[in-house]
């Protein structure tokens, strides 16, 4: 992988190099003879590079904006799930009926994973800014696509596991005698469902970010 410093070295690099052929017996040094359209080739090469840098910079800006939105969405999902709790207004002598995200271990893993993903997306914003500043650089984009893919898998897993649990809480299951909890805890179910939807939106945004980075890694248009 070559890191290309914009404008520093590449313009002076010649695409066609000519080896001098030293004829030792004759005492003559031969003249470099560049081809006829040498300057035109150089101009076309430079123009292509500038075009590629500009559309890659546009893609990087879009990537930065999407990353910001996904970070906010993931953290909002974690916060919504963590603050959803409901206590029923009646109680018996021994039990008090309350529902919290800690009652179901899947939901607590949802909160943990979504906060990790939100933190990662915030920390990857500087890498995205580096991609805007140096659009032709490959290593930041490659690092971003690697981490983005892993985080996308993780958040998709947490969101769908919680979706399965929330579906069970809404509908229950007659074959295994699991009763739907939502008929008693209405607000709790609504809050958790909203958090799951937000997490799915963050996962979809991460998927789109991966595809965008893959487009921006292309070397030729």
């Amino acid at each position: 992988m070559d890191i290309e410093k914009a404008g520093s070295r590449r313009e002076e690099e010649e695409p066609i190099v000519q080896k001098p052929k030293l004829d030792k017996g004759k005492g003559k040094a031969h003249v470099f003879a560049p081809p006829m359209n040498y300057s035109r080739i150089m101009e076309k090469h430079k123009q292509e590079k500038v075009n590629m840098a500009s559309w890659k910079r546009g893609v990087a800006i879009f990537d930065f904006v999407l990353r910001l939105i996904a970070a906010i969405t993931a953290m909002a999902a974690a916060a919504k799930m963590a603050t959803t709790e409901e206590t029923l207004p009646f109680f018996t002598q021994f039990l008090q009926f309350s529902a919290d995200y800690t009652d179901l271990p899947t939901l607590s893993s949802f909160v943990i994973v979504n906060s990790i993903v939100g933190g990662y997306l915030t920390l990857s914003l500087p890498f995205s800014i580096v991609c805007i500043i140096r659009p032709l650089a490959v290593p930041p984009r490659l690092f971003l696509i690697l981490c983005d893919t892993a985080m996308m898998g993780l958040t998709m897993m947490a969101a769908s596991a919680s979706a399965a649990i929330v579906y069970l809480a809404h509908n229950g299951n007659s074959s295994s005698n699991w009763l739907p909890v939502c008929q008693q805890f209405g607000d709790f179910c609504q809050g958790t469902s909203g958090a799951v939807v937000a997490s799915f939106i963050a996962a979809a945004l991460l998927m789109f970010l991966v595809v965008l980075s893959a487009f921006a890694l292309k070397r030729s248009t």
Binding site: G153, M156, I165, S175, L179, K218
Partner: protein
């Protein structure tokens, strides 16, 4: 005499030969795709063929466990079947990548489809894992009873079929990263 003519030598920007590393990456991708295909198809088959009927019954209730009883497990079977079909259909495309030189556009198509399939497979695997965890342990707060204490072999089979699916998720993520590296290489 030839001494009057200048020699023009080509650098790496002249003729772009297919490097050995790119070919190795393409071959590795092909092998990973085959392994992931076997993992998903075995997970789907293992989950779809589980059923257990307990040897006793009362007058009204039938003690029978099947993958159809839990919608998350049904989704798991469908997702694994879809992903295994996708993997077998993209095997020729992966083979073409080994041979052909300019593969950027088809690799981008493959990345897009792979990302979608990772989402589907991860979703199916995780929802089935949540249900299987619940079947193993139950939940005191919601009064959900642990089903595995009665249906032993059913629980073992559905837990075992999850493993292949999770391995396939990891392999698919690795495939995406390898495709991205192959796109960014200079060849």
């Amino acid at each position: 005499m030839k001494s009057g003519q200048a020699e023009i030598a080509e650098t790496s920007k002249g003729i772009q030969k297919r490097g050995l590393m790119s070919r190795r990456i393409a071959i590795f991708e092909f092998i990973l795709r085959i392994i992931a295909f076997f993992n998903t198809i075995s997970s789907a088959i293992l989950m779809a063929t589980t059923n257990e009927t307990l040897p006793f019954f009362t007058q009204f209730i039938r003690f029978h466990a099947d993958y159809n009883d839990l919608p998350a497990l049904t989704f798991f079977v469908v997702a694994n079947a879809v992903v295994s079909g996708y993997l077998i259909l993209t095997l020729p495309l992966a083979f073409v990548h080994i041979v052909k030189n300019k593969t950027e556009n088809s690799r981008i198509l493959l990345i897009i489809l792979d990302v979608a399939m990772v989402g589907l497979l991860a979703s199916g695997a995780a929802s089935a894992a949540a249900i299987v965890y619940l079947a193993h342990n139950g939940n005191n707060n919601t009064n959900w009873f642990a089903v595995c204490q009665q249906f032993n072999s059913f629980c073992e089979r559905i837990s075992g079929s999850l493993i292949g699916s999770f391995i396939a998720v990891v392999l698919l993520i690795l495939l995406i990263i390898l495709s991205a590296i192959a796109i960014s290489r200079r060849h």
